[in-house]
């Protein structure tokens, strides 16, 4: 009977990742742009928010809004509990050893600046070196430049190859006794390259050099286990993992965080204050001066819950399939060249077109309802490395589909038609 034959298929589908069902969780996706259904392929810039996140923020303001860590009243207790629960959720999400190792900040940029301005200022001196790579985002370059300028230290840059992969042998040569810290991206926002963090940390730790990982692009695309990576610091932004803007996390190993001076002074970061002497609060509050972004932190908590519900492994697999399909489809178009073809890659498809500037690609794709990023992606040194002013970049999220990749391909052909 035909109904019997269909049954096993239905079972299999129920266990597979159902992207159409996932899309229903994101209200923003269901709109038209220039009369075409929105195809949102700018997820490396920021991701869209599921209803769960939007509602968590709204509910907080409707029911629980209050300042945290001070009031004895019920609302303050509720807000404090909700806020601190997110710290525990973050600890689990990253598999940190202790929830006190989770510091709430404004985003990845602030997390990196925090480390540069506290750990860096304390430990990097004149003639010392800070080691980064040629594929870093500006936010993992400029904070170190500022530090080096102040201290008379040197910023060293490990090179990448034609495919956009870190040259590990060159990197290792740059680990010298003067190197005081390594700062490296987990997943390149401009190229999609995944760096072998475990190996890199091993090389650095063999020389007693700590490693900061910029995880902005990686956290929503793969399972991150900071203990397995053994990195010393890990920085991330909520808005790139389907949470709200304005909040992020710095993970740091407890021993390092405890030895670091505070970042900003103010309320909440103190244990006691007199005009003669202030005693700083314990971790993590030592680094959280002032009333934090409570509502958005609670929104981030909902994002963790959402991602856990879908399963990072499932998301990773879905996006790997999409990237593979997109790579083959876009590569096959004559006159299109991919930038960043690393063996280990995720989420990001950067490309250039013969005689056509990325900015023009972006405008024409937009009239087709397709949102991509065009420009240097806050990684100008990467562009310089490849001798191009800019690229067009499609970056995928957990809600993108193969049909949307087909629309991108159609859009690229239209670009050629209009400008060819």
């Amino acid at each position: 009977m035909s109904t019997v034959a269909k049954f096993p298929e239905r079972i299999e589908r129920a266990s597979a990742y159902d992207v159409q069902k996932v899309r229903k969780d994101f209200p923003i996706l269901h709109q038209t742009v220039h009369g075409k259904p929105l195809v949102y392929l700018d997820n490396a810039a920021t991701t869209q928010k599921p209803l769960m996140v939007i509602e968590a923020i709204e509910n907080y303001y409707r029911r629980d809004n209050s300042n945290i860590h001070r009031g004895v009243h019920t609302l303050s207790e509720r807000a404090t509990e909700a806020y601190e629960n997110v710290r525990v959720a973050a600890q689990k999400f990253l598999n940190a050893a202790d929830h006190k190792e989770i510091i709430f900040v404004r985003g990845t940029t602030e997390a990196i600046n925090l480390v540069a301005q506290t750990y860096g200022r304390k430990n990097v001196g004149s003639g010392d070196e800070v080691l980064i790579t040629a594929m870093e985002h500006h936010s993992n370059i400029v904070p170190w430049q500022l530090l080096c300028e102040e201290k008379g230290a040197k910023l060293r840059v490990a090179p990448i190859n034609e495919r956009g992969e870190l040259q590990l042998d060159e990197f290792e040569k740059l680990l010298v006794p003067k190197t005081k810290i390594v700062a490296i991206g987990h997943l390149s926002n401009a190229l999609g390259t995944i760096n072998p963090i475990r190996e890199i940390v091993g090389m650095a730790h063999a020389r007693n050099i700590p490693v900061l990982v910029d995880g902005a692009q990686a956290v929503a695309r793969m399972q991150v286990d900071v203990q397995a990576l053994d990195c010393d610091f890990y920085a991330l932004s909520s808005h790139k993992l389907y949470g709200p803007t304005g909040v992020g996390i710095l993970y740091g190993k407890r021993k390092l965080l405890e030895a670091m001076p505070p970042y900003q002074g103010g309320g909440d970061m103190i244990a006691s204050v007199t005009f003669e002497k202030t005693v700083y609060n314990r971790l993590p509050y030592k680094f959280e001066a002032g009333t934090p972004n409570i509502a958005d932190t609670i929104g981030l908590g909902a994002a963790f819950e959402y991602l856990n519900k879908l399963g990072l492994e499932q998301i990773e697999q879905h996006e790997a399939d999409l990237l593979d399909y997109a790579t083959k489809s876009v590569e096959a178009i004559p006159g299109v060249k991919l930038v960043g073809t690393a063996k280990e890659k995720a989420g990001v498809l950067s490309f250039v077109m013969e005689d056509i500037h990325p900015h023009d690609i972006g405008t024409i794709l937009d009239t087709e309802g397709i949102a991509v990023r065009t420009g240097h992606h806050c990684a100008q040194p990467v562009m310089q490395r490849f001798g191009i002013p800019a690229t067009a970049r499609a970056s995928f999220g957990l809600y993108n589909t193969r049909e949307e990749v087909d629309l991108l391909v159609k859009g690229i052909r239209k670009v050629q038609e209009v400008l060819g």
């Binding site: 500037h357 990325p358 900015h359 023009d360 405008t363 420009g375 562009m383 002013p389 800019a390």
Partner: protein, 150 residues
């Protein structure tokens, strides 16, 4: 709203020709004014060279890279302004700016530059269309710093 028509308005044939084969695309040895224009958002970067004699633009050229709109605008600007006085050039820039921001009519008084009227439908591209012009103004004013659209 016809997006295809809007796109054709933006990427007019003349604009595409100038972007592919820009005029006066060269450095000028005798230039007594020079300035850079830079759009940090997209990496567009031009250098404008001007040779001013007796208050008039004797020769003008540009070099650099950018999108179709910015390159064509630079190319057509050099064609339009050669032989004009500095005051005339300033007046043309003002009217060109009004045109691409949608504050002027059809730009008939701007001659060939009227093809840029379509830019006003794409507000994000106004910076592209005016980049070379801002650099020119900086060059004529003798500003040393590179001008930036940001």
């Amino acid at each position: 709203m016809s997006d295809v028509r809007e796109l054709r308005d933006l990427y007019q044939e003349v604009i595409l020709e100038h972007s592919k084969k820009p005029k006066n695309f060269r450095a000028i040895e005798t230039a007594n004014h020079k300035a850079e224009g830079f759009n940090p958002l997209c990496g567009d970067h031009f250098t404008i060279y001007v040779d001013v004699k007796d208050g008039a633009i004797n020769d003008i050229g540009f070099q650099g890279s950018g999108c179709a709109i910015s390159k064509a605008s630079a190319s057509m600007m050099t064609q339009m302004l050669k032989g004009k006085t500095e005051t005339e050039a300033e007046g043309i820039f003002t009217r060109f700016h009004d045109l691409v921001t949608g504050h002027a009519g059809d730009g008939q008084d701007l001659g060939k530059l009227a093809v840029f009227a379509g830019v006003s439908e794409f507000p994000l591209r106004v910076k592209c269309a005016t980049l070379a012009w801002h650099a020119l103004r900086a060059a004529l004013n003798g500003d040393q710093e590179a001008v930036s659209t940001e």
